[in-house]
Each structure stands twice: as structure tokens, then as C-alpha cells.
Symmetry: C2
């Protein structure tokens, strides 16, 4: 396998992008990454696109061909692949783009993720998102994603004594980080009372325990490491790239307070990278709900099972004063969560950090980062370990 | 890059599978391939699934996790990826599974395609399929796939003098082949008058010029060639595997009588395989409409532009008496066209032929085959060149 590196990263602003369609968003993200990489469109050999549900959102499948066409790349008839893995579509797209370069078949690959969600009503969004759960055994009986994660939260509270206040601290932290990110959907700090007094979505998860509905796109340019080193001064090396799966339905798992796919994907990625969790300087974790960040912190081994709530409340994962900042971008909670884009957006943030250009969010001296992207309630998890050169 | 070989192939029957859901179909196809490969489920490192539109057909996204779960593979947390490229979803899945093995990251990969279409009404199917065209510039204005291919047919008739009778001969040939395939949706010969007198769908394409709405699934097991040779007596080597793209909309192309993506994907695959078109002994081509097979024959170089109609009518591509049989499986027309499965089903037929186990459809002495899978009206095309060992 060839070593693979990231030579460019770019993103749109996340939020309610009223003036931009899915194709606009995809192209803007791709162009940002291409400009950042200082390559021309004729350098590109293949495109990978992560997208969850354009078929249902805008009656448009064949999304990779769409982006290839509207970015002008179809004139060179490049290879293009769309992957879908619910909210892990971006991470799974990156894994496959990584394999495409590692294989030796393609030298310069653009991988992006995009989703256009805000044109749908809240009810439509709830239904479209629920299609990533088990349609036959969960959605049919009325399960929604807030409900599924609320069950995990209740189980975590029961098993480990985790409190609503501890979960709320995840939202407070990630909003504080998002306030420093000019591309975040919510660039505003919030306090604990705001989270605790917000309207209930699925008890114990209130509005501020949930990531928002978002439009947005992010993209990366990959090259073999050897070529990357001659092309740019500071490529970021993909040291580990893994996907792990679990049962689609939550009901089929032995426990609700942990995601086996996160444990496996994390361990495989660290092994591949020849690192331990202690080597990681910052992480972007999949906080689709506040409880999800706590579970990820425990499953990845940053803390022991049951200790994440207290650790977050103590400030261990804060940008200011924390030992290992988590979700410096604002996370899904504050940066926003356009599903197909999220797995790529996490890596864009890690690249900016490892290249020392994260501005007010910069983690000083960071050389190793981990990103963690979850599909559904944990049926697909991807983990990437990234290292500065 | 490691050489990659196919060590197992399997398929469900294609047709109206009233008793089987998408998950049933996917699992049956996968098990057939696994049994054929004589491997156990614990040998599998990764799964790739091609599926066009389960989100719209059955409100189920996250399709790779679904199949992983219901085949029991989630207990080992294997890597799983779903790809979507309209009716080329199967071929694009195979290309990425090929890269996954070629890269060196995965040794034993199952790649399958599945679609469950017959639970939708005809109107729903027309709308869901049309989502693979350009939603903003084609579908919005009422374009359907029969209409788009009818325009290609009219242009071909105008430019090359192709006749309705010549197009109809594609359907007659493929039904004759399908009659020999126990897994085909239509195992019945038809005559020229039946095609010509059938109800019109989109002038000049009648019902028998169109492939059917189908349920079905197909799967393959891939290994590095070296491992494959020690595992099985006669693996089939993937000598060429390519994807090429074109504009999503038909209106943006310089001509309607040729698909540039087929030309490019075909030439790239032959170059990769170090073959010429004269080396090919049989081909499975994407005959979603009869005109599509004629255009593919010309674009791939089996005949010159404008000569495919006469060549088919002369019997050059018939199993009985033809020089280079095309669509011995019955093609999309008679074998059936469950969109996500088609690109894999074509390769399953090629594997059976190259291993000498195609029964009544056997092409004697065939050692090299080509498969051609089209998404939309040609915005994505994949070509695979396969060789017997």
C-alpha cells in the first residue's frame, strides 16, 4: 500500500444556505479544496462524494455524476463514486478515496461530502433521517434518531450515573468552540441554563442536546505521500483509516451505553497508525447528540467507561485549558451537521489544526489528530488518524 | 497494485420476487457467492453493496450496514460500503471492491448489488428512476428514461439509417438467450412482430424495446490473484476495471448517438488489460433499451459507428452462430434489470462463461469477456475486462 496524504482542504460555511443548491454546495467545497491544494482541474484523476439522501431531499440520485458534471470534470471523463452510509457517508467516502490512492490506480483524488437539508420541513427531515435506522424494525414502529439516542442517554445515566448537566456541558463546550469558527452554523456561546431549560425533544435530550439540520459541503485533495511531499510543504498524512460496522438496529446490541463499532474502528485505526490513544493531540468526535460525544470518548479510550461526563464537566476536552481538545470546530452541535459532509468536515478541521492555520481555535503544537464519524446509531463508524509532516 | 481475481459468483433469480424483501435478496445473493467461493463468513474482510434507490423504494438508506447486519457479518464489525451510481451502482461497487483488494488493505471482499423495485407502482418507478437524470434540467421538465433513450434512438435512425426492426432484433436475440437462463426474469423467446407490434412507450421505443422493472441481487467474492490461485482451481482475473463519467444531462452532449463515457471507459479498460477489442470472446452490454445495446456495440469498437443495427440483424452477436455473443444471460432486457444488481449480474454471467459452467448458454472456448454497465443516460459507465485462468 502506498502512504496517502492530504494536500488540500476546504469547506463552505455550514448553516441555512438559502441561495445554494446541492450542486452549488458540492462545487464550492471542491473548488475550495482544489485552490487550497494549488492544483488544476486537469490534475484530478477521480472524485469521491459522500451524500446521505439527495434522492429523498431533492429527488436527485447519481450524485457523483452531478458534481462531476457541474464542476466541469466530466469533460475529462474522470472516475466518480458516490458512497452512502447515513451520517458516516463522508468518512466512508474518505476511506474509499484513501484506498483508491493507496492502491496505485489514482494519483490525485478529490473527496468531498455535501448535503442540502434545510429545504425540507422538520417532519420531512425526521422521516428522511430515520431511513438510516432499521426501516423494518425501528422506523416502522415510530423510532426517530432523537428517541434512539435518548434511550442510550437514559441507559448511560442508569449505568454510570451520568447527569443531564454533564451532557449539557458537551453542548456548552462545543458552542464555545464554534464561536471561534467563522464557518460554523452557530457562532455563539451558550450557558448551561440555556441547554437545561431548552424544550425537550426526546427526554432527556433537549433542543441543545441535538445537532442541527444543516446545509454544507467540505472537501479534501489526496495524493500519494511521495508526490504530496514534492507538491506541498506540509501535507497531512493519513496514518489510519478504518470502517467498522454493527447491527443496524439498536435493539440487537448487547448494551446501549457503548458502540462496539467505535471501539473496533478506533482500535484498528490506532493499530494501523502505530499509535496509542495517548498520542492523540486533538479529536473531532461525532456529537450528533451530546450523549454521543460522551460515549465516543469512552469507546475510543480517552477516558474509562462511565467517566466521560465528569471529564467533560472538568474541562479536560476544552480548547481553553483542556489536555486534549475535542471538537475544536464546534462539532456537529455548533459547526453544523449536513450529514454527507460531516465526516469530511471533521478532517478539514484536523488538517487546519495540524498545519497550524486554525486561527483562534489553534491547538498549539498539535501533530496528531483523530476523527470519528458515526452512521445511524452506530451501525457504521469510521475513524481516521492524521499526522502532520 | 495487486492483481485481483474472482473466486465466487452467485445470483438470485431475477423477476417479481413477491416473498423477498431487499434484505432477503441481498443476503441470498451474498450467500450464493460465498458458497460458490467455498469460504466461511469469518473469512470476509469487507463488503461492498451497489444499490440505486432503497431510500426512495423502501425508505431504507444505510444499505451496506443493513446487509452486513442481516447476513451476520456485523458481529465481526467488518468494513462495509454502499455505492450509488444510478443503474451503474453495481459496476461502481465492483470497481471500488477491486481497488480495496488491489490496495492490499483487504484480502477477501464480497461485492454485491441488489434492488427491490416491484413493490412500487409504475408511476412511482418512473419517478424514482428519473431521479438518476438531471433533476433540475431534465426531470423537472418531464423527461423520463424511455423519453431520453427515444431521443437517442431517433437521432441514431436519422444519422445512421438504423431501423425499428434492427433495434427490435436486439430484443429478439436477448430473449432467445434469456430462454436458456434459469435465473432470467423472462425465459421465453419472442419474435420480431411481437416487438414491433407492442404498445409504444416513447416513440420509437415500444414495450419490448425496454428492460423490465425487476427485483434481484447478485454477488461476487474477490481475492488477490495469488491467494485466489491457491484457494480455487479456476479464478477469473479482473484485467481491467474502469469508471468514466459524462455530463449528467443528455442535452449538454455534443451528440446523442454515442456515449463518450462508454468510449473512454472501454478504451481505458482494454489498455489496462493489455487487450484489444478483437481479444474479447463475449460481452455483457447494458441494454436498458434496445438502442442502448447498438450504441454500446459501436462505442466499444465491436463495430463501426452506424453499423450495429445491421450487424445484430445479421446475427453476429447471437449465441447460436454469432462470432462474439452479446448478452448470453439475456441482458437487461430478458434477464431483468434490478438496477443496483445489474453491473454485478453481468460479471456473474461472464464468470460462469469463463469457468465453462454456463450450461445451455456456454460459449465454447471463451477465455476473455467484457462487461459494460451504464448509469443514467451515460453519465457514469463502468467497463470490466475479465480473463480465465
Amino acid at each position: 500500500m502506498r502512504d496517502v496524504a492530504i494536500v488540500g482542504a476546504g469547506t463552505t460555511k455550514f448553516g441555512e444556505l438559502w441561495n445554494d443548491s446541492l450542486r452549488d454546495i458540492g462545487i464550492q467545497a471542491g473548488f475550495a479544496a482544489i485552490q487550497d491544494a494549488k492544483i488544476e482541474s486537469h490534475d484530478i484523476d477521480a472524485l469521491y462524494v459522500g451524500n446521505m439522501a439527495a434522492g429523498r431531499y431533492i429527488a436527485q440520485e447519481h450524485v457523483a455524476a452531478l458534481i462531476t458534471d457541474y464542476s466541469g470534470l466530466s469533460s475529462r471523463h474522470i472516475s466518480a463514486t458516490r458512497v452512502e452510509a447515513a451520517c458516516a457517508s463522508g468518512g466512508v467516502a474518505l476511506h474509499n478515496a484513501y484506498l483508491a490512492v493507496a492502491s496505485g490506480m489514482y494519483d490525485t483524488v478529490v473527496v468531498g461530502g455535501a448535503e442540502k437539508m434545510t429545504d425540507a420541513t422538520d417532519a420531512e427531515n425526521t422521516e428522511i433521517l430515520a431511513a438510516s435506522a432499521d426501516a423494518q424494525w425501528e422506523t416502522f414502529f415510530g423510532a426517530t434518531f432523537p428517541a434512539l439516542f435518548a434511550m442510550m442517554a437514559r441507559a448511560h445515566m442508569q449505568e454510570h450515573g451520568t447527569t443531564r448537566e454533564q451532557m449539557a456541558q458537551v453542548a456548552v463546550k462545543n458552542h464555545a468552540h464554534g464561536a471561534l469558527n467563522p464557518n460554523a452554523q452557530f457562532q455563539k456561546e451558550i450557558d448551561l441554563d440555556t441547554v437545561l431549560n431548552a424544550g425537550m425533544v426526546a427526554d432527556p435530550l433537549g433542543v441543545f442536546d441535538c445537532s442541527p439540520i444543516s446545509d454544507g459541503g467540505s472537501a479534501l485533495v489526496l495524493m500519494p505521500l511521495e508526490k504530496a511531499l514534492s507538491h506541498t510543504k506540509r501535507p497531512v498524512i493519513i496514518r489510519g483509516s478504518t470502517i467498522a460496522t454493527d447491527t443496524l438496529g439498536l435493539h440487537a446490541r448487547p448494551k446501549l451505553t457503548s458502540m462496539a463499532a467505535t471501539k473496533v474502528a478506533g482500535q484498528r485505526a490506532l493499530t494501523q497508525a502505530k499509535k496509542t490513544i495517548a498520542d492523540i493531540h486533538l479529536a473531532e468526535l461525532h456529537d450528533c447528540f451530546t450523549i454521543a460525544e460522551l460515549i465516543a470518548l469512552e469507546d475510543l479510550g480517552f477516558v474509562k467507561a462511565g467517566e466521560a461526563g465528569a471529564a467533560v464537566a472538568e474541562g479536560r476536552f476544552h480548547l481553553k485549558g483542556g489536555q486534549m481538545p475535542v471538537n475544536t470546530s464546534g462539532g456537529l452541535k455548533a459547526r453544523g451537521h449536513p450529514c454527507g459532509a460531516t465526516g469530511i468536515a471533521q478532517v478539514v478541521e484536523a488538517v487546519f489544526q495540524l498545519q497550524g492555520r486554525a486561527g483562534a481555535r489553534q491547538v498549539k503544537g498539535a501533530t496528531t489528530a483523530l476523527t470519528h464519524n458515526v452512521g445511524g446509531s452506530g451501525a457504521t463508524v469510521t475513524v481516521h488518524v492524521l499526522e502532520a509532516t
